[in-house]
């Protein structure tokens, strides 16, 4: 190997861009510890911001290199990792994951800038954030189930610390709930995953954790149902799908502002992303059985989340329950499983990250000033903080999907697409359009309108430049994605089309397989029967 640092750096960008994106934040986290411990945190913030921006820059490069006409996985990296177990270090990006990666890297510098309210141990706060970013990006880009699982579990720890250390008064309870829920799901997923790998090894004779290999495994319908259920539970908790959502409001309320932004912005999407990458392609018939029930749960989530949001007296809890409602739309769109609804679902995941992320930032702005999240503590703020009121209005409108904001495009595609698959369920979901307006406008009314009745609010200051800098990029995206969505949609669509086709084909293959083996319960002694069959053939 010749010593050509520039050359090898360029090589990294050409050959290992995705790795660079994943591990740049980790490098940043380590870098933070180069500096001696200081009271003044601005150096840490600077470093973390720099690495956040480097990662964002790298992901922009990825976007430039991304061939938007192709539906294939691109910028692939593939290497054998733990050979004996068929574990690969395999990465790739397609239209489904490309903008989720962008969203993650886009939000992180904003979160770093919004860390001004963190008073204690800023260094490890930022290190946790960057570590979390690495874990999220790894989860999104991994094509090997083992690698995915590692990154998936890696997301848990930084989030645990972020809430447990920098959280509110009931943070211990919240982290515990968060961890218990998630670990329960993870264990189920691990068991189901190992069973799948084992089955695959039995059938093909080679152990592999590669998703591309695993989707060739044959299953009986019964197996598919059970395995899908295990995966669905694990991912459903993460989304969260009703009734597994109660960890979310607690986690959000206790989390620091940055934690809430990342949690709502990216982490929640991982659940649905898991459905997309694993549960559906691996067990399409199981998915088909569960789809109507998932759709019903999603719609319950939409309506229930909206109504419960309306009943909240805590701003953050309200926004948290609104997430339950919004993620309900995303789940509905995906399980309706047609090009329009699934593309809308992916687009809506991005929208939710932007509008809800912004709403949490805004709540943080208020919290920093008044140290309360009680809605009744506010009121009449619009006359005192007009810029804040304007921004709050725009993100509220985005959240309730007003046309020409990003929310409308996603919600429309989801509802229109789902209407073709589940007309009656979708009509119930449309009521969310009304309920969303009720709880968000009620929040806006109670906090922004009326006379200022709390004396403390009389001295409230409007958003400062730093806060404005964190919010303006999100404001821009609200209108960009609302008025010119076609560019992004046309990059998502080809992957969705071929994805759906892939799942449908596998469904047919599996059905054919089950039909061939329908005489007797062959699945239990699968390996043996296959051997016998082969011998007979010989």
């Amino acid at each position: 190997m010749t010593l050509d640092p520039l050359g090898s750096l360029l090589n990294v960008f050409n050959q290992n861009l995705l790795s660079a994106i994943i591990f740049a934040p980790l490098l940043g986290a380590l870098w933070l510890y180069v500096f001696p411990k200081k009271e003044d945190g601005s150096i840490y913030r600077g470093v973390a911001f720099l690495w956040g921006m480097i990662t964002f820059g790298l992901s922009c490069l990825m976007l430039l290199k991304f061939n938007s006409e192709s539906s294939a996985l691109q910028l692939r990296e593939h290497a054998s990792w733990i050979q004996g177990f068929g574990v690969h270090y395999s990465l790739g990006v397609d239209g489904i994951s490309v903008f989720l990666v962008m969203l993650t890297t886009f939000l992180m510098p904003i979160v770093v800038l919004a860390s001004h309210s963190v008073k204690t141990n800023l260094r490890s706060y930022l290190a946790n954030m960057l570590l979390l970013e690495t874990a999220m990006l790894g989860t999104l880009l991994a094509l090997d189930s083992f690698l995915f699982y590692i990154f998936w579990e890696m997301m848990l720890f930084p989030m645990y610390f972020l809430i447990g250390i920098w959280g509110g008064p009931r943070r211990i309870y919240a982290t515990l709930k968060f961890v218990l829920y998630t670990v329960f799901g993870s264990v189920l997923m691990l068991i189901a995953l190992l069973y799948t790998v084992w089955q695959h090894a039995e059938q093909s004779g080679a152990v592999s954790f590669l998703i591309a290999d695993l989707v060739k495994t044959n299953f009986s319908l019964q197996e598919e149902i059970l395995l899908f259920a295990a995966f669905a539970l694990a991912f459903g908790i993460k989304v969260p799908i009703f009734p597994f959502h109660t960890w979310l409001p607690d986690a959000h309320v206790e989390a620091p502002t940055g934690g809430s932004v990342v949690l709502a912005g990216v982490l929640l999407k991982m659940g649905l992303y898991g459905f997309i990458r694993f549960a559906y392609p691996l067990f399409p018939n199981g998915a088909e059985v569960f789809a109507p029930y998932l759709a019903i749960l999603a719609v319950i989530g939409i309506v229930y989340g909206a109504l419960v949001a309306w009943a909240q007296s805590d701003v953050k809890k309200l926004v948290a329950y609104s997430s339950v409602s919004h993620l309900g739309y995303c789940v509905l769109g995906f399980v309706a499983f047609n090009t329009i609804s699934a593309t809308g679902s992916i687009y809506q995941m991005l929208n939710h990250g932007i509008s809800t992320g912004a709403l949490f930032l805004l709540v943080g702005v208020l919290y920093d000033r008044r140290h309360t999240r009680e809605i009744s503590e506010y009121g009449g703020l619009a006359s005192k903080v007009p810029v804040f009121a304007f921004l709050f209005l725009v993100f509220t409108l985005s959240s309730i999907a007003l046309p020409l904001t990003n929310g409308f495009v996603g919600e429309f595609l989801i509802l229109y697409g789902s209407f073709q698959t589940f007309p009656l369920i979708t009509i119930v979901a449309v009521s969310g359009v009304v309920l969303g307006a009720i709880y968000m406008l009620t929040l806006y009314l109670k906090t922004m309108f009326g006379e200022i009745d709390e004396a403390k609010n009389g001295s409230l200051t409007d958003v400062n430049t730093r806060e404005l800098v964190t919010l303006l990029p999100l404001l821009f995206m609200v209108f960009y994605m609302g008025i010119f969505p076609q560019k992004m949609l046309s990059m998502i669509e080809p992957s969705v089309v071929s994805y759906i086709q892939m799942v449908e084909e596998r469904k047919d293959d599996l059905t054919a397989y089950v039909d061939d083996h329908s005489s007797g319960n062959l699945r239990v002694v699968n390996g043996v029967t296959q051997l016998i069959e082969e011998e007979e053939r010989v």
């Binding site: 250390i165 982290t175 495009v409 229109y416 697409g417 309108f449 006379e451 949609l489």
Partner: protein, 630 residues
């Protein structure tokens, strides 16, 4: 309907002016408050001028089109950002920008002392922009952008004085109630796109014309029509969703004139005319439209009799008159609906602006019992109010007579087979409502302008900036009725007449046919010029009826009891019982949780976080190391 080749022109100019105006009025107006009103007014006038230009150059039966870009196109569904300008659009655009410009001008005077008028004018221009998107939209979704956009502006302007929480509540109510209608509209779009594969008006119309097995689709088309009409009941304040409009009077009075009388609330009527091919195929839906329209007109008209707030009278009157427009649309006489829309825009905008002029001079008094005798001190306002009252009452030769008479005629000759049974009854109810209109409008005129002054302010005539728009609108309200035939000829390329032709009537006949309305006027004059005695006697004579009407049939209370409260209760039960009770209880019901949490708390609080981090990083490095070795 002849389909001409569509000409490509820069229609985007029309909404561009108010959009720019909205931004400039805010940014510049923030520094220089006096400028904001003029910027917004100039933007509105520029928009009117460009509309007029397109109107002049539009060939007979022709269509202008302007495709800006593809909004989104996916999975075979395409939503283009297209504008379409035909004679129906032309009429709507002229009314919106014309009346809009006058109201902008008036607002400069009316909002003279308002400290945040830059916000007001910015919203007002934003409203014009949205309304123009609504009428120019070449497909259902662009129309829907405008549809929700005007709803937003309405919300912002109703709650313009947001420090008053009741006003802000009225804004929220308007938005939420409108959203119920919008949900219906959305479902209609889903059905349309799902079945016909397009949302473009021209393409949809072509599919309706050329589809040979349309009969099979009638049930679905009926469903689409009903869903669209649900949308219309929200925006155009019809039963059951009309409850937001009276509350919307919390907004500044010019807003009531522009948004809640002349333009936005007529969007539902325009939408029916625009999608007439759907409604024409759905006679059953048309029957529903007709019944709802008559019922709304009657209910709102009777409520208006008992209102003492001058703006509330006008608000219920607007609901009632919108009912008349839907009567025409429901009979398939779209051109007559548009005719009444136009005449109503003139006289109702004038009435609202007059009421604004009165409120302005009586120091924000809106109760007519505190007015009276204003005719002497406010002659211009009085005369224009008088003209508009005669017009809306339906007395020839002013405009309201012609449009309303045409509506009653259209209902009488309704070809709809579902209507055969009770068409006569509906016509009777509509005729009675027409008399009621004359009665309550004259009542408001008498209570406000006649008799002696009962208030405590020092009323005076408003400045020229406010009276000029009044004069222009009153003049238009006087003569607009004579252009029925022209309108019929102008519109028939776009909307079918369904057998409802223009009927010429001699002036003498028209005067004779006005007798019922004149009766209503005389009755009100007799009763309400001297307020002291007679009204009380009348209300005492019918105590129950009076109570029912003055409480607006208790509709708000009924909705509150049967919709709002149960929903609120449900939300509370969901949160307290299910979320915190059942679901959470199952999760942390065990004592173990408490124990574990104690353990975790101890470990976290010993300050060992860094060691955790260290372990994690170590693990990471190990994993990476494995990769490199492999």
């Amino acid at each position: 309907m002849t389909s001409h080749e569509a000409h490509q022109v820069q229609l985007g100019l029309i909404p561009l002016f108010p959009l720019l105006g909205s931004a400039l009025a805010f940014v510049i107006g923030k520094k220089n408050k006096a400028l904001s009103g003029w910027i917004a007014t100039i933007a509105a006038v520029c928009s009117f001028a460009s509309v007029f230009n397109f109107f002049r150059s539009l060939p007979e039966g022709g269509v202008f089109e302007d495709k800006l870009f593809t909004w989104f196109s996916i999975g075979g569904f395409t939503a283009d950002f297209t504008f379409r300008f035909d004679s129906l659009t032309a009429v709507m655009c002229l009314v919106v920008t014309g009346v809009g410009s006058l109201i902008h001008l008036y607002s400069i005077g009316y909002m003279n002392e308002e400290p945040s008028k830059h916000r007001y004018f910015s919203y007002l221009n934003l409203f014009l922009f949205s309304m123009l998107l609504l009428v120019l939209g070449g497909n259902l979704l662009i129309l829907f952008i405008g549809w929700e956009g005007v709803g937003l502006c309405s919300y912002l302007l109703i709650g313009f004085w947001f420090k008053n929480e009741a006003f802000a509540r009225a804004g929220r109510k308007a938005f939420v109630v409108n959203r119920i209608g919008d949900a219906g509209f959305l479902i209609a779009i889903f059905l349309c796109a799902g079945i016909f594969g397009t949302i473009d008006f021209a393409e949809l119309a072509a599919k309706f014309v050329h589809n040979t097995n349309m009969d099979l689709l009638v049930p679905i088309v009926t469903g689409i029509a009903i869903c669209l009409f649900i949308g219309a009941t929200g925006k155009s304040a019809q039963i059951p969703l009309f409850v937001w409009l009276p509350d919307a009077m919390a907004g500044p009075t010019p807003v009531s004139a522009l948004i809640h009388a002349a333009t936005m609330v007529t969007a539902g009527v325009y939408m029916m005319a625009r999608t007439h091919f759907i409604f024409d195929m759905a006679p059953y839906a048309m029957m529903i439209v007709s019944i709802v329209a008559v019922l709304t007109a009657f209910v709102a008209g009777t409520i208006a009799i008992t209102q003492n707030d001058i703006k509330k009278v006008l608000a219920y009157s607007t609901v009632s008159q919108l009912g008349f427009m839907f009567m025409a649309a429901g009979a398939g006489a779209y051109w007559i609906a548009v005719f009444h829309l136009v005449t109503h825009a003139f006289f109702k905008a004038c009435l609202f602006l007059c009421s604004g002029s009165v409120i302005h001079s009586c120091h924000h008094e809106q109760d007519m019992r505190e007015m009276g005798g204003l005719a002497k001190v406010m002659p211009i306002t009085f005369v224009t109010y008088l003209i508009s009252t005669i017009a809306i009452s339906g007395i020839a030769p002013l405009s309201g007579y012609y449009s309303k008479h045409a509506i009653l005629g259209a209902m009488e000759h309704n070809p709809n087979p579902f209507m055969a049974q009770f068409a006569e009854w509906l016509v009777l109810a509509a005729s009675i409502t027409a008399v009621i209109t004359a009665f309550y409008m004259t009542r408001s005129l008498a209570m406000t302008f006649l008799g002696t002054y009962r208030g405590h302010a020092h009323p005076h005539e408003s400045p020229l900036l406010m009276t000029i728009p009044l004069i222009v609108l009153a003049s238009l309200a006087s003569i607009a009725g004579f252009y029925g035939e022209d309108l019929y000829a102008y519109l028939h390329h776009v909307v079918p007449d369904n057998g409802h032709h223009f009927h010429h009537e001699s002036m003498a006949d028209a005067l004779v046919h006005s007798w019922t309305a004149i009766l209503g006027v005389l009755a009100a004059l007799l009763l309400y010029t001297n307020l002291k005695v007679i009204p009380q006697k009348v209300s005492q004579a019918f105590p129950l009826l009076n109570k029912l009407l003055s409480n607006k049939y208790y509709i708000d209370e009924i909705y509150n009891m049967f919709v709002v409260k149960p929903l609120e209760g449900l939300a509370g039960i969901f949160f307290n019982r299910i979320d915190r009770g059942v679901v959470d209880g199952a999760v942390n019901g065990t004592g173990m949780v408490v124990e574990i949490s104690g353990e975790v708390a101890r470990t976290v609080q010993t300050g060992q976080i860094r060691s955790y981090l260290f372990m994690m990083v170590l693990g990471m490095l190990f994993v990476i190391g494995l990769y490199i070795v492999a």
